[in-house]
Amino acid sequence: MRISPVCADEGGAGSVRSRGAAIAVVILGGAVLLALAGPALSGLDPLAQNIGGANMPPSAAHWLGQDHLGRDIFTRLAVGTRLTLFVALAATLAAILIGAVLGLVAIASGRIAETLVFGGYDLVRAMPSILLAMTLLVALGPGILPLTLAIGIAYAPIFAHVARAVWRRESSAGYVAAARVMAAPPLSILSRHVAPNLFGAIVTQAAIVVPRAITTESVLSFFGIGVTPGTPTWGRMIADAVRHAETAPLALAMPVAALSAITLAFALLGDRLRLGSDPLRRGMAA
């Protein structure tokens, strides 16, 4: 760790970083607000088609205009935000369960279980995540739940390896050795001594995985193997709009802008969390 020179060097970056965190909070807050209140605000049906209003620019009734089928872009964007955030958060939770929790249980259960389970993670890691999720999704069928599970499996190894790294660091700690000497069962050592220390590492990692899960969901839906056509996630909206981009550019630009803003927000948040979780660099984050 190079402490002093780095601090001196990047002293100015600290303020940029905290501003970044503020930007992230504003974007995420806006997204949550849009997801919760958006559909009620516009009072329109995201699926209602109105061919007469196809490709119309923004108006008092349709704040962001209408897409090629005359559907209200704002309402679709709001419902899409809700679905997209839900899938991404649920998929990350699934990845934590499949990766960190299963991985730790396997580690606690002994050498053979660890080898087998981590061998599985290595297989998953040796595949491009988008290709793996594609294959899994076709196997599981379309829909929100399979989508969540497929993305969860694809990102599970990341959490498994974080969990193992923390476990290895913690298991050499004095209090874990003391618990062992007192013949505490492995699972109780895991839950009472290691898990609390794991929390920060997992949260930091989650901030990296959530935006990737959002992108993966969008790409899969764009490819037409994510959600069913009646479900307006951002990826689905993009897939619909890309063919009509010349006549209804806002229908494409809005979900792309939303996707970019949310990944940016999570990137800034993750950066902040990473610095905040490292006590040696905490001073820099302020």
């Binding site: 491009p128 294959t135 990737r212 992108t215 790409v219 993009i238 981009a245 494409l252």
Partner: protein
Amino acid sequence: MTRGFAGSGAALLRHGAVVCAIAVVMFFLIRVIPGDVVDVLAAEGDLSDSEIAALRAELGLDRGVAAQFVAWLAAAARGDLGLSIRFERPVAEMIWFAVPGTLALAAKALAIGLTLGIGLAAAAVIWPRRVFVWLVNAVNLWSIALPTFCVGLAAILIFSIWLGWLPVLGQATLPAIVIGIDIAGQLAKPLHEDLKEIAAAPFVRAARARGQSRATIVFRHLLPNAAPVAIALSGLILAGLIGGTLTMEVLFGLPGLGTVALQAILGRDYPVVQAVILVFALAIVLVNALTDLCQRALDPRLRHD
């Protein structure tokens, strides 16, 4: 780590095992998919029940999954990847025609990414007070915050629709730039950190004291010592490259493995899906093995143990 020929042999075996395991797992996973290619064909055209049964028998889909696996394995061992069920062409031939497109895009993107990433990192070390340090951070934030999917879509929107410059679809320059910037962002920041540390080392000061030019110091002393960091990042870069290439191909309508994979998955064309996955797994394992070799060649400490 005990490394020698025995070490490389063991590593090779492990890499081989991973490829085999992926082939096996994928074979069975794909066959869990409800509905096979015959269902898809039947939905597209009128097929009588007897025709459906005959088609299944001809394709070997009426046999048990285990029997299908043995047949596939035996053929694959002979280098025969089978026939595409939908296109009735040899899978090997389809892959063979798709690979150049993907490789060309990947090579272009990699060339752009490496040039930009290494160039920015080196420039930021040579001229720390100029704009380059800011650029290194900017391109890093860019690659973290903006997925290639978004950038690609934005590029289509801006260049082909709003500016109307060029027919964006079907040409590979724009997607290569999009992926290249992404790679540069992942590479430039860690490389810059590493170069800064090396630049502060006594042997660099000694070189400077001997009156060597900046170019000599950068090319003879700095960059070779930063190579291990760059190579250690190759896994990350490869993942970005593969994911980016797959997405960009479909987005920009380019011929290549990504397009073939998507069509095959949507059409339940099992032999093609298997072959594409195998090709990617082989590529990933090959790069991992090469990374291992390069690290040992560049870092003498890893050679003698």
